[in-house]
């Protein structure tokens, strides 16, 4: 009792000091000198990143909880704003000696909240990578400062910018439940304790499920990779249709359950169906990441993992899987900036927010239509993703990179600049180049693959590439469609036509056998995409059916729809960008 009163007294003094003489960079928007502060046990603070640091101009929310035995026990301080820092994990926990009691830490009752905040401010300016909480960030900070700076800036830009208080706060809340996401990912194979972990692992499974469907399809055809492409649309549709329907039902159920958990919890037990849905989420994630490229530092890792996971199943043999893993590690080790950012939180968020959507898209695309998958996903992610900038083509190249061990490195590095610097206006052009690159890569990859893996497994690695090439094309189009602004619109249209016609040519030379199907596919996919969008816009549930129907019949209305769709999309996009701005 007496102690509680004393603590109360002390806290009032502390708060007074905090308000009258706040530590450098700190502010307390929710405290006022007059307020009673009925609960002194929790304080919300903000710290501004110091000028000249990677956190400059960032406003980081900090939660301070005062234990009963304060000041004998240290306050519990956590970051509520995601931050990329060697000593602060994704859960916002801070590795700072004075926040722990001896012998582990150096808290002493003579310290106070003000000194703690000052120390945290210093920690932001001077991370301590030797006592890192985040392995990856620490390593980067020490050995690849550029990468670290880039990620940290991107995170700051994304989460800690002043002005978007509302959204950032929501982000915070969502990220909090999954601490350790980034952390664990940083370690190597990202196993996340909670959401992400399951998501990623599930992603693997989903990848496998893909494989399954793949295989069955291919088996019917004899030639695996090729068979897929050669397959008649109708054929595909039927199989996919079944799956879609089933899945959608499953989805509905899931959706009804808690949004957050549906991905993780539901997915596991229900087996393949669920896995598929997972898959979508995973891929969704990927797209997300890519979209976020500029913005989001952490993304890459989780992406990495998930992607690897996805992909590995495609690689036929276990060996390949392991290869991928190793690759992964290598990638991480070499730490080039490129795709390495995926905020674990981001994907989660998105999936949380729109589980249905992502599911739907994935379901639809699932089954035989991998291509669709790729194309559609960017789309869906676009329409629902938070960030307006999206780079749909990127996911595909990324894939290339992941799947392909040696060559991809070079490819990747080549691509990287394009990815990282995407300007609204230049976007189109870059994407174009990217798309082409993708196709060219395709060639290379194919060659490579063919040589070593001519037998069974070959087709699988092969097919992803091809797909990706296609995907690039498609996504390019979609992009152009998306490119909403008027000036861009014209361009994009041009491009659009160009792409559809010109792109196949190079492919022609490469895959003679593919050509016809390719075009078909691209058309189809586009249609589907449009379809999907339409469906999505109208409502979720009917979506699948409409899509299927459209698919099966070669609809002529496609042109109309697409244009209309384009417009609406463009509008959407504009709205988004505006909102963002």
């Amino acid at each position: 009792m007496a102690q509680a009163a004393r603590l109360n007294l002390r806290m009032q003094k502390e708060l007074k000091l905090l308000l009258t003489d706040p530590p450098p960079g700190a502010s307390f928007p929710f405290l006022s000198p007059d307020s009673d502060l009925p609960s002194l046990s929790s304080i919300d603070a903000q710290i501004e990143g110091a000028e000249g640091t990677v956190y400059a101009k960032g406003i980081f929310k900090i939660k301070i909880q005062i234990p009963d035995r304060y000041p004998f026990q240290p306050p519990i301080v956590t970051f509520a704003t995601p931050i990329y820092h060697p000593n602060i994990d994704t859960g916002g926990r801070i590795c700072l000696d004075i926040l722990n009691l001896p012998p582990k830490g150096a808290w002493q009752p003579s310290l106070n909240i003000s000194t703690v905040l000052t120390s945290i401010g210093l920690l932001l300016s001077e991370p301590n990578p030797d006592d890192g909480l985040m392995c990856e960030a620490s390593r980067e900070y020490k050995y690849n400062r550029q990468a670290f700076d880039h990620k940290a800036r991107a995170m700051t830009e994304k989460y800690a910018k002043a002005g978007d208080g509302g959204s950032s706060s929501s982000q915070c809340i969502q990220t909090m439940p999954n601490p350790s996401m980034v952390e664990v990912q940083g370690v190597d194979m990202g196993s996340k304790q909670d959401t992400t972990g399951s998501a990623s692992s599930d992603g693997k499974q989903s990848g496998i499920s893909h494989k399954l469907s793949f295989k069955s399809l291919s088996s019917t055809k004899g030639k695996e990779g090729d068979s897929k492409e050669n397959e008649m649309p109708g054929h595909r549709i039927s199989s996919s249709e079944l799956e879609n329907q089933m899945e959608i039902k499953g989805k509905r159920k899931e959706e009804n359950s808690a949004l957050n958990e549906c991905n993780l919890n539901c997915v596991r037990p229900h087996g393949i169906r669920r896995k598929l849905s997972l898959d979508t989420s995973g891929q969704f994630k990927k797209n997300e990441d890519d979209n976020k490229e500029n913005v989001d530092p952490n993304c890459c890792q989780s992406l990495y993992h998930s992607q690897n996971n996805f992909i590995s199943p495609f690689g036929t043999s276990e060996q390949q899987v392991s290869n991928n893993h190793e690759q992964l590690r290598q990638h991480q080790d070499d730490k080039s900036t490129r795709y390495t950012r995926s905020t674990g939180s981001k994907p989660c968020q998105i999936t949380h927010k729109k589980p249905l959507r992502s599911f739907d898209s994935c379901q639809i695309s699932d089954g035989s239509k991998k291509k669709l998958l790729e194309t559609t996903k960017p789309f869906s992610s676009k329409s629902y993703s938070l960030t307006a900038d999206d780079v749909s083509p990127i996911p595909l190249p990324v894939r290339h990179g992941e799947v392909q061990p040696s060559e991809d490195f070079s490819d990747r590095t080549g691509n990287t600049p394009a990815h990282t610097k995407i300007d609204k206006h230049t976007l189109l052009g870059k994407k174009l180049s990217l798309g082409f690159k993708g196709s060219s890569q395709k060639q290379d990859n194919n060659k490579e693959n063919v040589v070593p893996v001519n037998q069974l497994p070959l087709s699988k690695p092969h097919s992803p590439f091809r797909k990706s090439g296609l995907g690039c094309k498609l996504s390019l189009r979609t992009l152009s469609q998306l490119q909403g602004s008027k000036e861009d619109h014209r361009q994009s249209e041009n491009f659009f036509t160009n792409a559809s016609e010109s792109l196949p040519v190079p492919q022609d030379s490469r895959y003679d056998w593919e050509q016809q199907p390719n075009q078909d596919e691209s058309m189809k996919t586009e249609r589907e995409i449009i379809q999907e969008h339409g469906a999505e816009e109208t409502e979720g549930p009917p979506l699948s059916e409409t899509i299927i129907v459209l698919d099966s019949e070669d609809s002529e209305e496609e042109g109309q729809v697409s244009s209309r769709q384009r417009l609406s999309l463009a509008r959407k996009r504009i709205g988004k960008t505006i909102a963002k701005a």
Partner: protein, 311 residues
């Protein structure tokens, strides 16, 4: 279809297996890192809990024979020393071995002395010293509110052990309060503040001692070994506290060293921490007589201080 599914299923198993175990390992690994620290903390708190069961912050007065019983099958030197101790000392009061034993022993011993002696002059004197310490801390840059609660609580105890006011407490009540964490810890922390302030204030004096003890700077020493609760005290602390408050302390050393000061056998050595008379203290002279004769006697066994009662 059929034959394709077999291998695929296998692949699924394998890949999921490898993919899942790998993260799991990382997961565990990551956990382990935390575990080490947490284990330490947990073990420490377990030890403290055990200690707490055995001994309250401040125990009851026990005859010295109890101490002898503790070493019944122990070192003959210790037994002999305890026997020798019995010549001069009558009883022992144990304190909990939580790292604060010196400060807690000093707290209880001092307040008990005031309760029994009702020495108002001493109380006035120490209050002046306390005010001096307050200024010291302020000049060292401590924020007022970080220490004023502790100062206030100590002064409150000091007032209450003097009889004749509404808030006066009996000896029993003093024991109860000393066992109350919300009081006891605050007073201990007050002493820690005083000690830290004194060491910092006279950094050049304490530096060599600190260096010899921990090989760190004075500043670091105060941060890591004085101010945190539960950090054990050594002669640097005792010297500083004694000097800061102007209270002499006698420490009797009970260890297995053979102090053959005389050839006739073992003797128990002790050390008196006599406050250096500060020039700024105008009352220094009046305290002289007291300073020469410590009224606080602590029994030191390696790692622990208890209170000794002379005959």
């Amino acid at each position: 279809m059929q034959n394709q599914e077999g291998p695929v299923a296998d692949g699924e198993k394998e890949s999921t297996g490898s993919l899942q175990t790998l993260p799991l390992n990382e997961f565990e690994l990551g956990h382990w890192e935390n575990f080490v620290d947490d284990d330490i903390m947990q073990q420490q708190s377990t030890i403290q809990a055990e200690e707490a069961k055995k001994v309250p912050f401040v125990g009851d007065k026990e005859p010295l024979s109890m101490l002898a019983a503790e070493y019944e099958f122990g070192s003959p030197i210790l037994l002999e020393k305890i026997r020798v101790l019995g010549d001069q000392y009558a009883a022992i009061r144990r304190t909990r071995g939580d790292g604060n034993c010196f400060f807690r022993s000093f707290m209880f011993s001092y307040l008990e002395h005031i309760v029994e002696s009702q020495d108002r002059a001493e109380v006035d004197r120490i209050k002046r010293n306390v005010e001096e310490c307050r200024k010291t801390l302020q000049s060292l840059g401590y924020v007022d509110f970080t220490f004023e609660d502790f100062f206030a609580l100590f002064l409150e105890q000091l007032e209450s052990v003097l009889q004749g006011s509404e808030t006066s407490i009996s000896h029993d009540e003093l024991i109860l309060r000393s066992r109350d964490q919300s009081v006891s810890d605050y007073v201990v922390m007050f002493f820690r503040f005083v000690t830290s302030g004194e060491i910092r204030k006279r950094a050049e004096f304490f530096e060599p001692f600190v260096l010899g003890l921990t090989n760190t700077s004075v500043e670091q020493f105060c941060k890591s070994s004085v101010e945190p609760m539960g950090e054990e005290s050594d002669h640097v602390h005792i010297t500083a506290l004694s000097d800061a408050l102007g209270v002499p302390i006698r420490v009797v050393y009970l260890d297995r060293s053979t102090c053959d000061s005389s050839n006739s056998g073992v003797s128990v050595n002790h050390h008196d921490f006599t406050p250096t008379i500060s020039v700024t203290n105008p009352d220094a002279k009046s305290c002289d007589t007291k300073a020469l004769k410590p009224f606080i006697t602590l029994l030191y066994r390696p790692g622990h201080y208890d209170i000794l009662y002379p005959k």
